[in-house]
Symmetry: C2
Subunit: 139 residues, 2 copies
C-alpha cells in the first residue's frame, strides 16, 4: 500500500441536504451527481454516498453516533479557524466545541455536519500547509 488515501466517503441519510451543506461550506460539487456527490479535495476526493446503498455494497451496517473516523481541516491562521467554524454554523452545521487554545499550542475547535459527522478545524503552525493546500508533518 502506498502512502495515500484516495477517497473519503461519508455514508449519508439525506444526500441532498448533505451536498447542500458542503457546497455552502465552499466546496464545488462535481458534475457526476447521479446518486452521489463528489468533491475534489486536493489530491483526494470527498464522496457523499447514500447509506442505504453503501451498506449492502459492503455487506455491513454502519454504527450509530459520531464516527470514530473523523476529519480535520487545518488552517494557516488562528483567525481562519474562527471563520471556518462560523461558516459551518451559518451553513447548517453545529459547533461541537468552540475555538480555543490547544495543549499543543494551536487554536482549534470542532463542528459537526448536519448528520453529526465530526470535523476538527485547527491551526497548527508545526504542520505547515503549502500553497496548494497540502499539509506536511514536520521533518
Amino acid at each position: 500500500m502506498e502512502s495515500r488515501v484516495s477517497i473519503i466517503t461519508i455514508a449519508v441519510d439525506d444526500l441532498d441536504r448533505m451536498a447542500t451543506f458542503y457546497q455552502a461550506m465552499g466546496l464545488k460539487r462535481h458534475r457526476i451527481d447521479d446518486g452521489v456527490a463528489f468533491f475534489q479535495m486536493g489530491g483526494a476526493i470527498l464522496a457523499l454516498f447514500p447509506r442505504e446503498v453503501a451498506e449492502p455494497d459492503a455487506g455491513i451496517k454502519f454504527g450509530k453516533g459520531p464516527s470514530r473516523v473523523y476529519l480535520a481541516y487545518n488552517t494557516r491562521s488562528d483567525a481562519e479557524v474562527d471563520e471556518v467554524l462560523a461558516e459551518a454554523k451559518r451553513s447548517g452545521g453545529r459547533i461541537v466545541k468552540p475555538a480555543g487554545r490547544a495543549f499543543w499550542g494551536g487554536w482549534y475547535g470542532y463542528f459537526a455536519d448536519p448528520e453529526g459527522n465530526l470535523w476538527e478545524v485547527a491551526h497548527n503552525p508545526e504542520f505547515p500547509i503549502d500553497e496548494t493546500g497540502n499539509i506536511r508533518l514536520p521533518a
Copy 2:
C-alpha cells in the same frame, strides 16, 4: 473552506496494535509517537489517536460499529486490488468483501482494519491516479 482535507483521524482503542497494522500495510510511521501515530499520506495525514483522549477533547462519545466515514485506496490496476486485500489479510485485517467486478466497471473489494474500520480498495480507470498518487475526478 478550501477544497482539502488535512488530517484523517481514526480514534483507536489499542494504539500499538493499530499502528503495527498500518505499518505492516507499508505505511511509514512518523517520528512523533507520543500517544499518537502519524502517517504522511500524500498531501494529507492519517492519524491514529486514542479514543479515550479524543472523546473528552471533542466532548462526545463515538458510536459503536463500523464508521459512516470510511476510506478508499484506489489502485492503478485490478491486480493491485487483489494484492492490497491480501496484504491487509496478512497484516491482521479482515476481508469484508472479496474483490469482484463493480457495477461501474471497476474491480474492488473491502477490508477492515483490526478495529473494524472499513477500507474500500478499488481500481477505477475513470478516476486517474498521477505519478505522485493523487487521484482526480474526470474532467
